[in-house]
Symmetry: C2
Subunit: 248 residues, 2 copies
């Protein structure tokens, strides 16, 4: 259930800017990383939330679902209010090495009011050079690797450092999205968005972080991503050596 | 970040059934109602989570995003482990009156191990006759209307009554999805899914229910849906009169 905020609500709580928010799709993105913040953003009447990608062809998620982008990188308007990058695993690795994606993020990120990510999306921001000297977070499995890209990892669900807002793994996109709405429109407005999305979470289990989960489960989960962690390190090493010896 | 559970995890926690979970798409569905539970389901290695719709054409969400279904109603396998219906507003009203959708839900619902919904998706289940005599929930704006379809509304985030599992508004799909995983695989397994999706929610605001929100915000939000509520009542009235005087 979604509703564009109506005019009484908008006027009562401070009007709106006429701006655009862009969420980037790349092959094998994690769908919930996109649709968590997307749902929070989309109620910003007057602002348009757009899914952008290299081309307008449907983009496959990491679980095989095709989602159609609304604009290409080239068609994406300048001066975004928010740019947001979702996570993934193998697709994220490729995005971290894809020059067109990195160029788009660097140029649009430098102009955007808020530069944001969910889950391993922060690794893509980092690979684009947008987190150097910033505090940031990511999925718990790879959070510490942010330091290899010059960022300072913080064990927190949502990390705000100047105009960078990064979220932890997957579901943190909801908290991150709500925080971004609050920064754009103020708390009272964001509370309306929270009520409309009935965001009063009550998981019946309590194992959402490594600290709260059993050591055995943490060990098994980490093991699933050994290859991914290794690959991220290689991307970082290649990036550093390219920096040290730039092409002639 | 997603990962198909690997074999060590599966074997350690009780193996898996070879079954299918289906999430129904209809025009103007709410995307987060789909991708919340989808993310929780998709880690059930061995089970396939499928997006099903009337045709294989991309289906538009209530915020203008096109998602491509993976199977048609006809192609959907029999004997589903889980059938799940997302919410929406105008599209939901149409789904509640669409014979092909209602027939699909009734037939597949009667065979499914778990019949589930997120947000106003419970109104579609109710219109298909699947909640008569059951406790259920829905988005807070329309929850009480469930009684017009013979269900018993309960003010709770996730309601389990026999094999019906219904979730409250939009974001409740995450809690609902995790609960379904726990019912299918047990708590230890579900805790693994929770850790992988880092589901340790920490909204920075506390206005996710009408009880927690300001009366002014609740009033404005309710007012936005006056038309929708009226339309749901009309669908219910038409349904009751059709029942009272069946076609000759």
């Amino acid at each position: 259930m979604t509703h564009q905020m109506d005019s009484e609500f908008i006027e009562r709580f401070g009007g709106y800017q006429d701006g655009q928010l862009a969420i980037v799709l790349y092959p094998e993105f994690t769908a919930l990383d996109v649709f968590g913040p997307h749902h929070m953003f989309i109620n910003l009447m007057g602002e348009r939330t757009l899914l952008v990608a290299k081309t307008r062809e449907p983009v496959i998620s990491d679980t095989g679902v095709y989602v159609t982008p609304q604009l290409t990188f080239e068609e994406c308007p300048e001066g975004l209010l928010v740019i947001c990058v979702p996570g993934g695993t193998n697709g994220t690795l490729r995005a971290m090495q894809d020059q067109a994606t990195l160029d788009f993020l660097r140029v649009r990120g430098e102009q955007a009011r808020w530069v944001t990510s969910v889950c391993t999306g922060s690794l893509v921001l980092a690979a684009a050079g947008l987190l150097e000297g910033y505090q940031a977070t990511s999925h718990w499995v790879v959070r510490d690797l942010l330091s290899e890209f010059g960022a300072q990892p913080v064990n927190q669900r949502v990390v705000v450092d100047r105009n960078r807002i990064t979220g932890a793994g997957v579901t943190a996109g909801l908290d991150c999205g709500l925080e971004i709405v609050a920064r754009l429109r103020g708390n009272t407005y964001a509370e309306g968005v929270q009520l409309l999305s009935e965001y009063d979470p009550q998981p019946t289990l309590n194992a959402g972080t490594p600290e709260k989960s059993s050591p055995e489960t943490v060990r098994m989960m980490r093991a699933m991503f050994d290859g991914f962690v290794e690959n991220v390190k290689q991307v970082s090493a290649a990036r550093l050596s390219a920096k040290a010896a730039p092409a002639e």
